[in-house]
Structures are given as structure tokens and as C-alpha cells.
Symmetry: C3
Subunit: 402 residues, 3 copies
Amino acid sequence: MDKLKIKSLIKQLSKLNYKDMYLNDFLLTWEKTDDEIAAVFAVADILRGMREANVSTRFFDSGLGISLFRDNSTRTRFSYASACNLLGLTVQDLDEGKSQIAHGETVRETANMVSFMADVIGIRDDMYIGKGNAYMREVSKSVLEGYRDGVLEQRPTLVNLQCDIDHPTQTMADMLHIINTFGGVDKLKGKKIAMTWAYSPSYGKPLSVPQGVIGLMTRFGMEVALAHPKGYEVMPEVEEVAKNNAAASGGKFTKSNSMAEAFEGADIVYPKSWAPFAAMEKRTNLYGEGDEAGIKALEQELLKQNAEHKDWHATEGMMLKTNQKTKFGEALYMHCLPADITGVSCKEGEVEGAVFDRHRVAMYKEASYKPYIIAAMMMLAKFNNPADKLAERLECGRPRIM
Amino acid sequence: MDKLKIKSLIKQLSKLNYKDMYLNDFLLTWEKTDDEIAAVFAVADILRGMREANVSTRFFDSGLGISLFRDNSTRTRFSYASACNLLGLTVQDLDEGKSQIAHGETVRETANMVSFMADVIGIRDDMYIGKGNAYMREVSKSVLEGYRDGVLEQRPTLVNLQCDIDHPTQTMADMLHIINTFGGVDKLKGKKIAMTWAYSPSYGKPLSVPQGVIGLMTRFGMEVALAHPKGYEVMPEVEEVAKNNAAASGGKFTKSNSMAEAFEGADIVYPKSWAPFAAMEKRTNLYGEGDEAGIKALEQELLKQNAEHKDWHATEGMMLKTNQKTKFGEALYMHCLPADITGVSCKEGEVEGAVFDRHRVAMYKEASYKPYIIAAMMMLAKFNNPADKLAERLECGRPRIM
Amino acid sequence: MDKLKIKSLIKQLSKLNYKDMYLNDFLLTWEKTDDEIAAVFAVADILRGMREANVSTRFFDSGLGISLFRDNSTRTRFSYASACNLLGLTVQDLDEGKSQIAHGETVRETANMVSFMADVIGIRDDMYIGKGNAYMREVSKSVLEGYRDGVLEQRPTLVNLQCDIDHPTQTMADMLHIINTFGGVDKLKGKKIAMTWAYSPSYGKPLSVPQGVIGLMTRFGMEVALAHPKGYEVMPEVEEVAKNNAAASGGKFTKSNSMAEAFEGADIVYPKSWAPFAAMEKRTNLYGEGDEAGIKALEQELLKQNAEHKDWHATEGMMLKTNQKTKFGEALYMHCLPADITGVSCKEGEVEGAVFDRHRVAMYKEASYKPYIIAAMMMLAKFNNPADKLAERLECGRPRIM
């Protein structure tokens, strides 16, 4: 990306209304206006362009980005660390194993104790239905109070790195990949994207990706086709969001219980395993009750239920149903990675090896947007005039590598 | 805090004699002169003021702050990380689990091996009586030798993040909170602070806080009333320090076995559980001998002993005994956190929920001083002219967030 | 080191041909030309000189240095962190326990997913014969592809922090220590260095140090005498390298099964335990097969075999065989640390306490070169004109501690 292109992106950015993002959290994409969503995409592209042009985007001389992962993670952890580094923040992990959180501290207290110099807090908490997003809001409320009470010098803003409801950094990265692949938002009108369940030999994968996808991708005038076997329903509230989005954007939101139907003529496919919402709710309760036997029984039941749907498989045959007239000769295949690849990472999985391989580089690019999306969310929350800051930096040209 | 106020603090600082702090450790408050203690408070307040004014206090372009925690910790770990970040140092954790220390390396060797680029080393080692502070001195001696022998380019200075004897970063933060709450050191003459034991259902809490408090708070002309049940004595050497301090500062140091007596008319109360010194010594020996059965038996014995003193409880009734004429209408309640709150974090604990809640924000502020205290200790150890450096930075106005 | 000396080193550096190091990995010393090896030494000395002179060598305003340790490590971990910090990179650990690597991800995918903002990747993987170096090459290939495919904005270069074949950061640090101790490369012609096995009560120590030493030290016209009990052979390919190096440099490479013979007249001795190559190969296969019983049996066998060679011990008597006319009055004793010191860290070990103590400070200095060697490798891989960069920085004099 040359500097002229970056400049024009900054100009576009400066025309958007995103002033409410300042000193605010990013928890669910559907809480943000279209302008705000567009601002994230613009800042992400600008930051990427500037890094490629060896222009430093270190805007913090010091400051901390707290990370709180309640589940193992390589990709999101590295994306968050990369985003913090890009802006000049130092990551400090709140590892619950090492901390006293386990000893019964309240969320309010811990949130304040770790935030004296925290500019940003990134949280991943996707394990339990009804808990993750609620926990983030509790943390947000706590640090806002701490800021108002004069305990904290700054208000740390939150970035949702995946919760039980949404996975905004993933789906925003996915969406920016789609936008850039198809050549702009204006090219997406009428395109069809299939967000479908796929078989996996593992159990209990979070619902945040399919929910996040239908909650976001319905905003761009596309047809979003959600498909899954019966019993694998996602949260009804999010389907409601998708419906309303589609209506507002002039797109469509359809549901079916057929992968083939969803793939039919699709320009983009996103086949991926997830656990039934109802089962995840049940599991959350069993964990709450400490019912180990119940959890094991549920696991067996779910694995058995999964195994009835091995035909939900992104095969070559299935890809043939998609639109063969795209520039790829078929639908753009997407995945949040890692995928369960048949014959590679498991015996029978979500996708055939040949399909996966053909789209591998594109998927890596898809993933490469995440650090920039996170950094953009941070930047829009921490600066009231990001367009000016970026323009200024582009002018003065301080190099990243000196 | 406006810039004029910061300037006046820098001026005050420049009049103090703290030259011996340069290239020196901070291990026990009573090893420091009154001017040195005052310098730490001044630098802490200045750094806080500058951060609030968005002036960068990054004085290191590169450099490491080693952290060595021999016990779990959230607060102190984050405070140390925040302090390092504030000055521009990168934290590198020496996690004994991950390292080869466990394999029988000598302290001298490890201390040098991790310090080639270490400007500061922060150590928390409070588990075993007679060991923690001694270990810090061994590390300090080792790196001093390494520096003199030309192995290390710089002398890493140590900050005691809690040992078996003192907890200087905690008590200095506590004290700065008191000073700023009461409006200055000159307002403390004759005030009464009750450092009392309180019941907790857990066992083996360190003595470093009560010891650190009586060793420090006796220097300001206050009456420091130490109270605990019989059998919960603290180190006699530290009581000696407290006695001498009180005599020198025109204050008082009293001891009793009654919480009510200590609370009577107090302006400040600090009720907190700790383990009997003698029992901790015994435990240290049992650990040394690897006597698991002995440790378990001791634990049971101590829990039973604790349970005899459930009336050591910071209740509303107890608070009524304190000075009702302060600006809070009662004593300032303090705690190093986390507290055992009756009916919240445990069935019966150190403090009633209502008392704790009423003082919550003040306690959070109390904790918020710690990162600045640590950074001040570092700065006074690493710069021979901190007042000039701070003044210069305040003038040139390099922003923290650009 | 004064600035004139640093300038003269930069001038020397600028005459060397090291252009192929740019955007390249450092995996084995014998893949590098003599000029390239000399460039690493020069940059390491320059960086050290600049740090001592309080000149900042932070060349990255942001950027990540990924670390991937597949074995516990204090020294190398801290050396890598120090090197990254010295240049301005932030370390991000890829802890396999915390990540999804364990869940069957491919190397290619993970390598790309963690590298979006990675300038450097440091890997330690020395456990399994035939695996460590191969793994590094797989990672290198993956990120090179990622870079070419436009997934990664920069090509992350690799530094081998120890593999099954070589330990270049260790042996380069060792060698720079030798060069600086003896007063320059030109003083080494005809000097004798004994790389010998020594008894240790532990088992399975890696071969990378003896292999790395004979693969590197044979390039400087020295006599390199490798000695070990029968059955403790190192990789034949590396012996081949050593032979060729010695021939090319006008030195000698000898082998024997006698410690005394190797020590005879030596100017430098490096006695150190290692496991037999063949046994390590066997162990690798047993691990591959998950044969726990086989592994235990092999361990017992190896410990028994070790115990037959307790006379391979760096005693005072053995040191008397070395050249008594050096400036130390005997050979320079070297070790990569930690050593098994008889009567200190074990009952019977590699070296007598008195011998170790006499050379302790020199060994600490030996170790102190490692962060600079690593930083030099990074710098030569990331800049196409490091001599200019260094000269420029020396001129402009931006301080490390402001």
C-alpha cells in the first residue's frame, strides 16, 4: 500500500462519526453503528499500510495492555500481543493460576488492582454460556467506577477477545478479509455467504464464531445463510440481531438444516463445528454444580450426537455447489483456524484436505487481519482524534525499524 | 495535580539528602534515613502527577527489571510491572518452575546469569522466617560482586517486594496514602494508628505487614498501637525498631492484647490476620526437614488457635470505639488487600462487610500508590540526580500518550 | 571500551562481507563464512561497548521477538530476552503448554499465526536427535513462504538457541570470550583447546555443546582435541566438519579416549558431560514409540555407563597437565554452566570445587557474551547496513538511560 492510498484511507476515516468509541469498550459488533464498524476497518487498513511502509505506529510511550485469558489460546494471545506492541503498550498477563483471583477475590477488586496503569484490557472468556460477556461488563463497570472514584488515572477500555455471545476481533478480521478480497464493501451487495455447521470429532466448540458472523455479516447487504443440523441452534437473540441487520442493509438472513442448500451458489462459505447452545447451557449449569459425572455423560451424548452428522463435511463435491464464477472458480472458503482437516488433523473432520489446501494462503491472510483489527479497536477507544494522529505520523515518518 | 504543584514537589525533593540511595537497594525501611523515606514519597507523588498530566516518565530506552516471586501474587506482580513500564524497563520473570534454579544452582550463579542487562531486581520471598531477607542480601552481594568483577555492565539494584521481615513497598504506599489523606506529614503528630491482629479462617499469613507498619509508621510522631492475642507476637527485633523510632520522632509505640484498647480513639485502624512468629519459625524448620506430617499437624493447631480469637473482628461496634471526629466520622480503615470479609469472602473473617464497603474506595486508592512507590525506589537507586531528570522532563513535556 | 575503540571496530566490520546474512537465519556456525562469523563477533563487541557507554542500541521502535523453548532454560531465556530488549524488540513466548500446538496444529500454520509482527524467532529444541534442527528449518521454510505469499509483512529470521546438532549462541559466546581473553584472533594460532567429556551423575545432557565447539573452534588455527570415553561419540557429520575446518585454518583436530592426553599442554579446557549420540538416537525412538519402560531402562543403563567413567574429572591434578605458562598459570577452564561441581552441586561431578572457583569470574564473563552474540545475529539478519546504523547511533549518542 503506498502513502497516497494510506492518505486517502485517513481522509475517508475522518468523515466517519465514531466519537462515541472514545473511552468506550468493544464488546459486541451490534452495539456499534455502521460508521463505527467502518472506522475499525479503516484504522486497521491504515495501521497495516503504515507498518508495511515502515512507519512506526507507536503512540504510547508507556502503558499496559492487560490480557485475561480464561481458556488456552495461541492465535488470539499473539494477536493481542502484536496489537499492543504495534501501539507501544506492554502486555501484562493476568494468569489466574498465578494470581490470587482463585482465592475468592471479587471481580471489582481485582479489576482495579491490576489496572492502575492499564490503558486496555483484553478478555477471552468463552467457556460458559451466560457468563463470559457478563463478566466483561462487570470488569468494565468496575474500572469505570475506579476511574470516576480517582483510583485509576485513566479509564481502561475493554476489548472482547471472545465471549459466549460474540467474537468481534475474529469476525471483524474475517469481514475485512472479505471486503479486501472482493474489492470493497460496495461489491458485496447480493453476495451469498454460507455460515454452516460442520462435523468435528471434538465437542463443545464455542458458538461465538457463528453467532458473531451472522450478527456482523448481515450488515453489508449480503445473503447470510445459516445452516446446521437440528439441535445445533444458536442463541435466538443473535438470530434476531441478524434478521434486523439484514432488513436494514437490504440483505437476507436465511436458516436451514441443509449444508448443501446453504452452499448452493454461495460466494463465501464458512463451515465450522460448534456445540448446541442448549447443551452448552446445560454444561454451564453442571460445572456450576460441580457435577463431574454429569459433565462426562453430557460429553458422551454430544459426541454421539455429533457423529450422526458426519455428512456436514466441506468436500470437493460440496464446493461444486458453490458459485463457480468467482475469481477463485468457487466460493471463498473461510475458517477461524485451527480447522479439523479430514485425514490430516483427524480421521473425519470439517473439511477435506484438498479444499483446505487450496484456500490455505487466503485463510492465513484472513487471520493476519486480527492484530490490526484489535489495534484499531484500541486506537479508536484511546484517542479522540485518531485520524489526525495517523495523518501526523504518516507525515513525520518516524520509522518502525530505524 | 497541576504542573506548579509538581514543580514545588521537585523543589522539595532537591533539598533532601538521598545521595546514598544511588546504586543501592531498598530492603528495609529502617535502614533508610528520614530524608530518604521523604524522597521516596516525593518522587512517587511527582511520578503520579506527571502521569496524570500525560508527561512520559520513561527514562530507560531499554533495560530489564527482573522479577522473582517465590509466592503467588497478583497485586505486587502488577505493581512491579507497572512501575517498570512507567520508567521504560521491560519485566523479565524468573519463574523458578521454568528455570534451572530448582536443579541446585547456586544463588550467586543464577543472580549473575539473569542480570547481564538487569537494571533492577524485584524479589518477593516471604514464606520462610529467616530466609527471605537473607536471600535478597545474598542476591544483592552476588550482583555487586558481578558488577565489580566486570561480569555485569551495571549494578542491578534490588527492591524488596515482601520478605519475612518487612514489606516496604506496601507500607510505604500505606503511609503515603495516610499522608495524603490527612493533608501532610505535619498533620500526623499525635494521631493514633491501631495495627491489630484480626481473625481469619486461613492460616500462615505473613508477618511482614504488621512488622513493616510498626517499623515505619512510628517515624512520624504518631501513636502506633500494636495489638494481638497472646501467642501472636511479631519479631522482637522489629519491636525494638518501633520503640526507637517512636522515641526519636516524639511518638509512642504501645502493645496490648486487646483489639478494643487499640481501637480506642484511633484515627487509623489496620486490622489484619497474621501467623505467630514462633509458629512460622517452626514451620520453616519443618519444611527444611521435609516433615509433611508435622506441617499438617501444625496447620491444624494454628487453625484451632486462630478460631479461639474470632472476636478480633473489625465490626461496626469496634469502629464506634475509634475517633468519631475525623473527616470520615470514624477511623480510616486500612488493609493491604485482599481482606477476609465476613459474609463475603468467608463466613467469619477480619472485617464486617459494611465496614469494608464504606472504606472500599479509600483502600483502592491506598493500593494505587504501590506502583509509584516502587518506581520511586527504582528511580532513586538508578539516577544520581532524579530531581534534575524530573524537572527536565516536566519542562520538555514529552507525552506518555502521543 | 572508549568510543575510539568502538569506531575502529565499526570500521573493521564495514570491511567484512556479510551481505548474505541479511534476511537470513543463523542455524549452524559451519553454514556461515569466516567473514560472517567475524561480523557477529564485531557487532557483539560493538553493542557491548555502546551499552557500556550508555548509548542506546534500540533500533526497533516496535516489533516482536518470538521465543519457543521446548526445554526448561534460565540462561538462554534471559539471554534471548536481553538481546531482544537491547534492540527494542518485545519478547513473546510461545509456551506450548498454554497454546493449541499440543492439539495437533501443523508447524506451518502455527509458525505463520504467531509471526504477523515477528521480526525474529528464537528456538531451543535440543531434546531429540534428528528433530530439533529439522524443526527449525521447517519453521523457517513456513515463515518464508508466509512472507512470499503476503501473509507476513516481514520475513522473521530464526536464531538457533540450541538444537540437537549445534548450539551456536553458546559456542560463539565461548569463542568471543577466548578471543578477548587471549587478545585477538591472531593470538590463537597453535593454541590447544581440549573439548573433553566429564563425568556427571545426571544423564542425557545434550551433545550440542561439544559438537558446536569442535565445529567452530577448529576455524581459528587452534588444535582442538576432542576426548571422551569409548561409546560417547558425537555425530560423525560434525567430526567431518571439524576435520575440514582444521585443514582449512591450518589447525588440528584430534580425537582420543583419554582426558589426560587432551589436557596435556592445553591452553584451554572445556570438560563437560554429554550423552552418547547413539543412546540419544535410541531415546528419541523410544519417545516416538511412547515406550516408557524402555526409556527408564535406557536411563538406568546410561547412568551405569556414566558411572564407569568417574575418573573423567577436572581435578587439580588434571589441571597440572595443562600449559602452566599461560597468564593464568594453567589452562583457561571453560563451561557453559551450570556445572556439576564435586562436593557442591553433587557428590561426584565434572569438576573439583577449587578448580571451578578459581575460574568462576572468567566463566561468568564467558556467559555474559551470549546476549550480545544473539543481538548481533539478529542485527545482521535484520539490517542490510548494520555498520552504518551503528556508526550513526554512536554519533548521535541517544542515551540508553536518559
